[in-house]
Amino acid sequence: MEEKIFAITEGLLDTPTHYCPGCHHGIVHRLVAEVITELGVLDKAILVEPVGCSVNAHQYFNMDAVQAAHGRAPAIASAVKRVHPDAVVFTYQGDGDLAAIGCAEIVHAALRGEKFTTIFVNNIIYGMTGGQMAPTTLEGQTTATSPFGRKVEEAGSPMRVSEMLATLDGAKYLARVAVNTPAHLTKAKAAIKEAFTRQLRGDGFTMVEVLATCPTNWGMTPVKANAFVDETMTQVFPLGIIKDKENC
C-alpha cells in the first residue's frame, strides 16, 4: 500500500515554478498558501502581485489575483480590501518594488491602517532586472549598479522598512523572519499565520518581512547564500517581532 505523506497545498497550483535554484520565493509561496488554506479562507483570498521575480505569482497561487505596476500593490490592495472587506487580501512584494519605487504606497497604506497583509520578500537586490542595487542592499555590497560596493555617503544605509513602518500607529503587526533553516521556517510560518489572523480580526496593517536569498545575483551557491542570511543579513536586519500592537 502506498501512502501519500506530503502533498502540495490546495493554496498552490500544481505546477513547476520558474524561480532560480536556491531562491526562496518558492518556499515563501508555499508558506503563505499553507497558512491561507489552513485558516480556511482560500475561497476569499485575493493576491496583489508585484513587479519583479514574482510578477506572475498568480501562476502558482490558486486564488484570484491582480497584477500591480511597480510599487503600486499597496494602493491596489487598499481599494480591493475596501470593495471586499470580507476578503483576505495580501500584497506580495520584493524590496525594489516596496522600498524604492513603491515606498510612498506602503508607508501610506500602513499609515491608514489598511486591513491587508504584506508579504515583503527582502533579498537585498533587484532580482528580475539583473542584480542592481536596492534600498536594502548592504553597505559595501557589490551589485550591477554598485560595482565598487554600496557606499553609504552616496547611496545611504540599508533601509530597515519594518522598523520604519513600526513608527506608524496603523501598523499593528510587523515581523521579520527568514526561511533559510527549518527552525526559521517554522517561525516564519507562525508569523505569517499571525499576520493573516490579525487581518481576519480587522486589526489594521500587518506585514511579514522575509529575509530571502538570491543566489544567482549574489553570485553564491544556494548553500552559501543560506549561510549568508545568518552570518551577514541578520546583523543588519535582526529577526523577530518588530511590532505587535493589539487593537482589540
Binding site: 489575483a65 505596476a69 487598499s78
Partner: protein, 355 residues
Amino acid sequence: MSERVLMKGNEAIGEAAIRAGCLYYFGYPITPQSEIPEYMAKQLPQRGGVYLQAESEVAAVNMVYGAAACGVRSMTSSSSPGFSLKQEGISYIAAAELPCLLVNVQRGGPGLGTIQPGQADYFQATKGGGHGDYRLLVLAPNSVQEMFDLTILGFELADKYRIPALLLADGALGQMMEAVSLEVSLQAKPEKQWAVTGRRGRVEPNVVKTLCFDQDTLEEHNRSLQRKYKLLEQQEVRYEELYTEDAELILVAYGISARLARSAVMQARAKGLRVGLFRPITLFPFPEEALFQLTAKNTQAFLVVELSSGQMIEDVERVTRRQKPVHFHGRTGGNIPTVDEIYDQIVQIMNKGGN
C-alpha cells in the same frame, strides 16, 4: 416633476457619478477640481460608498485600478499636472480593459502652469498620454448639465466596452454654476464575470493582469484592443452641429471653447454672415466622417477655437484632408478668448473669402 438644482460643474460630476452607481472614489486634491473630492468625501459615506484620499495621484489611479478589477464602478479626478501623474496607471487600466471613469478638469500648462482653465491636454487625452497603444473613450462636456449627463454616459460606455472613459472638462466648466436636471435612467449593468472577488466557489481563479511575456499573445491583445477602438468609431461617435447646412465658415470647438464659439456664431448670424459650429462631444472617437462631410457643402473654410496653442487643429486638418483652409484661434496661459475676439476673426476670414 423633474429634479432641477443649481450646481457647480464639479459637483454635478460628483452627483452624477453617485447616481450612476459609483460608490468608490479615489482622489487627491488639486485646483480647479477639488470640489469633486470634497463632494465625494461628504456624500459617499452617507450614501453607502467609500471616499479615500490617496497619498498621490499615482496611488489614486491605482486604487481605481484595484476597485475596477473588483468589478465595481469607481472613479478618480484631477487637473492637468495631477492628471500627468496618473498616466502610468491609465496605461495599465487600458491594458487590463477595466471600466472606470477618469476626470480631467484641465488648467493651463505646461508644468504647474496656472489654476485658470485650459484645453492643452487634448493630445494627452486623445492620443494616449501613457505608454503603449491604447485609447480612452474621451467625452467633452460644454455645460454643467453635460458634466452630469456625460459622467453617467461615461460609466455606461466604460462598462459596455470594458474601457476607461475620460471626461475631459476644464476649469471654467468645473467652476461655473448652472441649473441641472438630475434625472437619470440607467441601463442594466453587464455581468462582470472576470472580476476579482475571491474565488467563492469558482474553480478557476480570476486574474487581472497586464504582463504578457509572449510577443505573439501580446500582439493579439493589441489587435483586439484596436478592434475595440474601431468599434467605438463605428458606434459611439457624438457631436453637435449648429447652422452648418448653409455655412461658408464652420467653427470647430469643444467644451468651454464651443460655448464661446456658439455665441460668436450667433453674433455673426445676426449680421447675416453664414457661419456654423461643429462641436465634437466625443474627442475619441473623433467625429471624422461627420466633419469630413461638411467639406462637401458650402464650406469655404474652418476655424478651430481652443484654449491651447493648437492641438485639435491637427485632427481637423487630418479629417478634412485639408480640402478647405483651416484657421485657428487659441488663447493659452489660462486666458479665455472673448466672443468679440472670435467674431472679429470670423469677419476677417470671411472678408478674405475663406483664405
